[in-house]
Symmetry: none
Subunit: 200 residues, 4 copies
């Protein structure tokens, strides 16, 4: 995920900043994460932060955009393979839960971001969600045209699917027995629920 194109030993400053931001925003949330914290973890001066990003908001946005972009490109890749819609859904969900195990911080970050407090940020994020939802809606519409999926309200259904996944993901990030079970069986069960809700 992280590209090192410059120096074997030294990651690019920009990369280090975004990576540190991702970790801290995911772990602690937006307000609990200070620019100082990010600078420290990235081993960079505060001045450098402001050299690359106009403000804290912009840094946060960049971090979130990247996480969305990765997830979306992954989904689009799956969609492009010509698999039947239900199978794509299953694989997208599986990918979600796989990320939860491998990059728990990113997964948490995306879940946290449903309803950011700051109205200005909220507008931007709802745009990202909308984009994601539209991608899924397109998938649903494609399935509806081939008859693989029954007629539904595509965007509404897309939001519902995203919400399902986010809620279970969030619960699965806890540290109890149920969480462990959700991490194991979540993808499968959710795919089953989705398939039954959508089949003709």
């Amino acid at each position: 995920m992280i590209e090192r194109t410059f120096d074997m030993a030294d990651t690019l400053v920009l990369e280090r900043i975004v990576e540190a931001g991702r970790k801290l925003f995911a772990r602690q949330g937006f307000h609990a994460t200070g620019m100082r914290d990010i600078a420290k973890l990235a081993q960079v001066s505060i001045g450098s932060l402001y050299h690359y990003f106009r403000s804290k908001d912009e840094l946060f946005l960049a971090v979130v955009r990247r996480a969305f972009a990765e997830r979306l490109s992954q989904a689009r890749e799956l969609m492009g393979q010509g698999l039947p819609a239900p199978e794509v859904l299953r694989q997208v969900l599986t990918a979600y839960f796989a990320q939860l195990a491998q990059e728990p911080e990113t997964a948490q970050l995306l879940s946290r971001v449903w309803a950011p407090e700051d109205p200005a940020l909220w507008r931007k994020f709802s745009g990202l969600w909308e984009e994601h939802a539209r991608a899924i809606a397109a998938l649903l519409e494609e399935g509806m045209q081939t008859g693989a999926i029954r007629p539904v309200h595509p965007l509404l259904t897309a939001y519902a699917l995203l919400g399902m996944a986010a809620a279970v993901t969030l619960r699965a990030a806890h540290k109890d027995e149920l969480a462990e079970e959700l991490r194991r069986r979540g993808a499968e069960e959710l795919a089953d629920l989705a398939w039954r809700a959508l089949r003709p």
Copy 2:
């Protein structure tokens, strides 16, 4: 505790505080809402806020707890009427969307609270969500015993249902055409999705 009944407009102080907190936390989120703002809207001194609540966190918790309690008691009332499980689900969802129209602030508050930034608050809220999920899981189990619902993982499914509702609710709080449509058709469509996902 103190009754001031000589004026229609003069509600109890505690009531005014909680109400003001609900409005502002829902509109602006936790961090963007200052104690001064709440005091002003409630027409109360800052000191009074701290007379009733030990801290901002506690005030927030109280506000959220109340909103949860109302929603939960409403759901429990529906469950107690002996209706078949699928019908209860439909009515619970309808109630959600009805609240979205009548008390949009409370509805938004509950959706915001899925993933609060502060980890300390998060732990407390996840307890409230868990309680809510357990209530729904109990309903599902009941349906499974009577054969009205197919065998599923109750808690996982409960979280999935809550997530579906929260995501659509949140989107429905926007001010565009899609939001309006979701407010109109959300309850029905979600109930349909749920019913198909759960029927034997």
Copy 3:
């Protein structure tokens, strides 16, 4: 020390307040002690505090005045017995250290009060110290007239003696080995120092 003139079971409210104030001011100092704390320890409402004392300052003053008065009356009693001045000094010092063992809170209170932060209080307390110093100075002058004490500057010497006692007392209120030793041998050693410094 405390008079109970009204009811066997119930100490007078005023007494309870002053007693609570003494304990808390001595333990925690003036600023760390709130009116609420005093009210709670005295099992009295805040309103009652203000019924008996115009302000926190006045309550503090009353507490300190009483402690001073007790110590001073004790000293005057010793002086009135016609003992030789050096013997009186020895006994006064012994009484100091006895109080340190029996009523450590009062002893600490008096030591704390050398340099109160609030200028207004400081003026009043320096008056109390001056009164105390003058009593000792009178004793020294008496000894000088009988030839039992060499000629010294009476007030300066009185302050020096009080300072000696306060410094050792304060150190003796700690909880280590040295403190224990000071509590045991302090009176004697200080009396010796004083006697050698003052003998003709």
Copy 4:
């Protein structure tokens, strides 16, 4: 750390902060002195105060430590000159009273600090006093070994001497006739008292 040498009047920021703290803490005490006051007097922003010191407590501690260090280094210098112990004592006391005239604020600060209200601060300051007392105790022990001073309890005596000096110093900081007299004759009289108390 930063050198700004282009202006006579522009002292280093850190220096200005400590100096302002010294003045205000000495004049008004810890609680009556706000961070705003210090920032204003130092012509520095509040933020700068917290750039150099973690908290108000730490700033206070730094101020007091510096005052102690100066006094202690002065005393150690006198001790290192190989003068007889009694002469060193006389000169140390003289230095105390000289400081009272030249830097009345520092002298007052040190006297104030005998019994600070806050228990947490008290613990730290008693450490400083202890260090000071040990230095004097070492001097006394040296004198005892050469026979210049009679056998006494070194630490107890050191505390007594410090207490003597502090009490007279504090009284000498007033603005009446007695204070003036103490400032004039205090060093001499105290040295005399001490010498008589300690000579073999």
